[in-house]
């Protein structure tokens, strides 16, 4: 396949060649804007032409797809090639029953009676692992959870037995435990049906688990391709190797600093004449600028790299070393107790529609006790809906506590405005929406100082320049508007803003999850550096366990509004005690194909309704080791099981098995073992 797609003024895809064999799982990896999705959309004929222009050739089983007539293309789409999109919420029509939506595809491609189509739809739902498939045909999309909707999407994509399945970031919107379920499902289906799969993603971890072959895209071009195992072991392009080194992992030794790729991803406007990566590359030199490198055989068989220096890249470790940074003037600080949360509850009343309007209360945060000391980082992890963001918002006064209290330096948190609010500041997830687009960067950063009347105008602009320098943004940026900066740069500006009022605690709500993978390490390092230099305490809220591990001193795991386990970082990652923590850790994909040890069975089911949590231990409905009569009746309390370790599970104490406490052996194996015991 080959396409050139200069869309509008942006060259989204610049001459890529890809071959996918029958029955092969092929992963296309790249950051946002690298052209990975556009190239696959053009395979499906879904790129609007005009304005886009697709040239080159896309051959599917010998059939030329570029310029193919609409009706013929329709027969291929959904018939021969199935596609699954990222957001299962918007890909399903909310007003039709899902049985009808599956049958619709069957009717489009086959002559089939309505009853047969429905029967087939039921079989398909069963095949994608939806319990009580026949009964759920009459349900509407909103009655399914995110993971289940994605299963329905897969069922639709598979309806006509396609020979190729294109999955565009199919698990990005899902939680790790659900992602694990979907990955396993696709693996099974692929093995059963023998179809080819093109998996588009930015997540190298998922790729390592599912792909046979991988192509890495950068700037609309494929920079490296090869067998997954080879690529991960010996990357022969600096970009691939940089990505592999810069993403934090849960399975390797934690280093103080993450190796980082400097700069930001490119967006191509002009013709490519030189390597698009050269400005960010440690090996970049004149020969990289002189010509556009093409894919050449490198490393192992079937491995190609578009780098003029590919021969000299042997081990990426030298290329992307984890440098010890010189921290200018690390601040001496005590370790006094800064924040203590006692029995915090945040409940939201919600009204449900429907025939009988019933009022429900979402227990977003339901009795949380946590502590944070000066200069430390508390990581809070959990699936979406576990209440971690609400907890963060309660700390900065965005939501009122229903019960319990938050003490900041011994004083109860006062959510009214005033100078006392300077102590706790916040960094938001999305750097694009957290800044007023009409304000200049200087004003954005100075805002906390103006709110609290700190300094004169001159002193403020002086401090803004200093803060911008501290986060690696040139001081002249102060007169520009936020939209002129990339996501990573904006997040730096957001950090500068959070620091402006000299806070003692910064709540970071998913500060890197909206950023490109190659930029995440920069921000994580910057936060770490900032902490060392200013002695600020961080509350780091994230769903990404690897990032949390990298930055936190202590980690709290939340489930349905409650903390289920809390421990120092190394303890929790090496010897997790709570079954939920174990399941979460086991679900994190590891960017290393060779580490795929016999995986524990994925956590079943989805997060229960937070307005109607299960009785007893809230996790018992999904827990592989739950004991009936104990876990579903008695609420486990968060209690100390070891120095600095808190766990809310009956079985941690009930179990006399020392491995539980000592935590020997592999976590994944452990969970499998537990599953057997429990079963």
């Amino acid at each position: 396949m080959r396409f050139d797609t200069p869309g509008r003024e942006i060259r989204a895809v610049n001459g890529i060649d890809v071959n996918v064999g029958a029955g092969e799982v092929f992963a296309l990896v790249g950051e946002s804007g690298s052209g990975k999705s556009v190239s696959m959309l053009s395979v499906m004929g879904l790129v609007p032409t005009p304005p886009a222009v697709v040239t080159g050739s896309i051959l599917f089983d010998g059939l030329e797809l570029v310029g193919l007539g609409r009706s013929k293309m329709n027969a291929i789409r959904g018939g021969e090639i199935g596609m699954v999109f990222q957001d299962p919420m918007s890909s399903l029509n909310p007003v039709h029953r899902i049985g009808r939506q599956i049958a619709e595809v069957l009717h489009l491609h086959q002559k089939i009676s309505r009853r047969d189509a429905m029967d087939q739809a039921g079989e398909l739902l069963d095949k994608v692992g939806i319990p009580n498939a026949g009964g759920r045909l009459k349900d509407y999309p909103h009655e399914f959870s995110g993971g289940m909707r994605q299963r329905v999407m897969i069922a639709i994509a598979l309806a006509c037995g396609p020979r190729l399945l294109i999955a565009d970031e199919p698990t990005t919107a899902l939680d790790v435990t659900v992602q694990r379920q979907i990955v396993t499902l696709v693996q099974q289906l692929q093995a059963d049906l023998g179809m080819a799969v093109i998996w588009i993603t930015h997540d190298l971890g998922v790729v390592a688990e599912i792909a046979d072959r991988v192509a890495v895209m950068y700037g609309g071009r494929i920079v490296e391709t090869g067998n997954a195992a080879d690529l991960y072991r010996t990357a022969t392009h600096p970009y691939t190797s940089g990505l592999l080194h810069s993403i934090p992992r849960t399975d390797t030794i934690r280093t103080e600093w993450l190796p980082e790729i400097p700069g930001t991803p490119v967006q191509l406007v002009d013709d490519l004449l030189s390597c698009p990566f050269h400005s960010r590359c440690p090996m970049g030199d004149d020969s990289c600028v002189a010509s556009l490198p093409t894919l050449e055989a490198s490393g192992r068989e079937g491995q190609f790299s578009a780098c003029v220096h590919h021969a000299s890249i042997l081990d990426g470790g030298d290329l992307w070393p984890s440098l010890d940074r010189e921290v200018t003037a690390a601040v001496e600080h005590g370790d006094e107790l800064l924040v203590s949360i006692e029995g915090l509850k945040v409940h939201f009343p919600v009204e449900r529609g429907g025939r009988a309007r019933r009022k429900a209360v979402v227990l977003a945060v339901d009795g949380v006790d946590l502590e944070l000391r000066r200069g430390r980082t508390l990581g809070i992890v959990g699936e979406s809906g576990c209440g971690k963001s609400t907890l963060g918002r309660a700390l900065v006064g965005l939501v009122e506590a229903t019960d319990g209290r938050v003490l900041i330096k011994g004083e109860p948190l006062d959510t009214s405005s005033g100078p006392h609010r300077r102590t706790v500041q916040m960094i938001f997830q999305d750097p694009f929406s957290s800044m007023n687009p009409g304000m200049r960067v200087g004003d954005v950063v100075a805002e906390p100082m103006r709110v609290h009347n700190i300094g004169s105008a001159d002193e403020r602009s002086e401090r803004v320049a200093k803060l911008l320098g501290q986060v690696g943004i040139p001081a002249e940026a102060a007169t520009r508007h936020p939209h002129e900066f990339s996501g990573g740069q904006r997040q730096r500006i957001a950090i500068a803003r959070a620091l402006a009022a000299n806070p003692e605690v910064i709540v970071c709500d998913e500060p890197v999850s909206a950023l490109d993978v190659s930029v995440q390490a920069q921000i994580v390092n910057l936060l770490h550096e900032t902490q060392l230099e200013t002695g600020v305490s961080l509350i780091f809220i994230a769903h990404d366990l690897a990032v949390v591990r990298h930055i936190s001193h202590e980690v709290a795991v939340m489930y349905l509004g409650q903390v289920v386990e809390r421990a120092p970082r190394d303890d929790i990652y090496e010897t997790p005690l709570h079954p939920y923590t174990k399941a979460l850790l086991a679900a994190v994909p590891v960017p290393d194909p060779s580490s795929s040890i016999a995986l524990a069975p994925p956590l079943e089911g989805d997060l229960p309704d937070p307005s109607d949590p299960p009785t007893g231990c809230r996790f018992h409905t999904r827990c592989p080791v739950a004991v009936i009569g104990l876990c579903d009746e008695i609420i486990p309390e968060l209690r100390v099981v070891d120095t600095d370790r808190w766990v809310a599970c009956h079985l941690v104490e009930a179990s006399t098995d020392q491995s539980f406490l000592a935590g020997e052996g592999d976590i994944r194996g452990d969970l499998g073992l537990l599953a057997e015991q429990g079963g």
């Binding site: 005009p50 304005p51 405005s417 006392h420 906390p448 709110v451 709540v507």
Partner: protein
């Protein structure tokens, strides 16, 4: 490998909107020049008796004279002053009221917002023209009263538009961010919410001008305008009461002020349309 480059294809609708907006802008400019330059353009003083009553158009009086012998063309030219003044000032009154209520109702959507919006709903439900007439009659005939009555009646629509914008703005992360800094609500409203609604407010303001001009003409036509001011509506009022609608005099006594009212109202409406297309392309 050949790369094709394409110029960005523009959408059609903004183009049409732009043209109409230019047209409306031209109309508005014409009226503004006419209002400001009235003493120079008008051949006579419109309050003076300069000829015989009921004269048809002639070289001396291009649009003839009215029932007391005043020059109709001069009346028409001076009428632009009243129409524009009432239109713009009444729209300003509506803008201030509508924006204040809209911002407060949008930023505090729970109790205050619900209360304010109920008030807005009541005003929107009331039969509009009868209320306008009763209020104008009750308050008495003066320019100020006309402005107040119109302003007070047309702010409800704009306030709804502003409120919906503020509702979405208040949950934007940069507004939340200012709250996490410890800023009072006043700060968030003045620095983040108001500046982001200004554009939308301008659009609704121009639209309100158009409405206000029409309403002023209606009130004056009913004889409820300021008796001392020459406005297009009052020219029509006198034409009606002297029976000009049924005589050939309608061509120079009724038609020209009618056209002027239309031009003024349409001009502002077109400008507003073009602005809204810009401000909110998904409209």
């Amino acid at each position: 490998m050949k790369l094709l480059n394409r110029k960005r294809t523009k959408k059609r609708s903004p183009k049409v909107a732009n043209r109409l907006g230019m047209l409306g802008g031209g109309m508005v400019l014409f009226l503004v020049v006419m209002a400001i330059g009235a003493p120079w353009f008008a051949p006579y003083d419109p309050t003076e008796r300069v000829g015989l009553p009921f004269q048809p158009p002639s070289a001396a009086h291009l649009l003839g004279t009215n029932d007391v012998g005043q020059d109709l063309l001069s009346e028409l030219i001076y009428g632009a002053r009243v129409s524009l003044t009432v239109g713009i000032v009444a729209a300003l009154v509506a803008l201030v009221l509508g924006t204040s209520v809209g911002v407060l109702a949008g930023y505090y959507p729970k109790r205050l917002g619900r209360f304010l919006m109920q008030g807005v709903d009541v005003i929107l439900i009331l039969p509009f023209l009868p209320l306008l007439i009763i209020l104008a009659a009750y308050l008495g005939r003066s320019l100020l009263n006309t402005i107040v009555v119109i302003g007070v009646l047309i702010w409800a629509g704009p306030s709804r538009i502003i409120r919906s914008q503020v509702l979405s703005l208040r949950s934007r992360e940069y507004v939340l961010a200012s709250r996490t800094m410890g800023a009072p609500d006043r700060w968030a409203i003045m620095r983040h919410v108001l500046p982001r609604t200004a554009l939308l407010a301008t659009g609704t303001f121009v639209r309100a001008v158009s409405t206000a001009i029409l309403l002023e003409a209606a009130l004056s036509f009913l004889g409820l305008g300021d008796p001392l001011q020459k406005s297009w509506g009052s020219i029509l009022f006198w034409a009606q009461s002297r029976g000009a609608f049924l005589t050939p005099a309608w061509k120079w006594w009724v038609l020209p002020p009618g056209i002027m009212i239309m031009v003024a109202s349409l001009g502002f409406a077109l400008v507003a349309f073009a602005m809204e297309e810009r401000i909110n392309p998904r409209l």
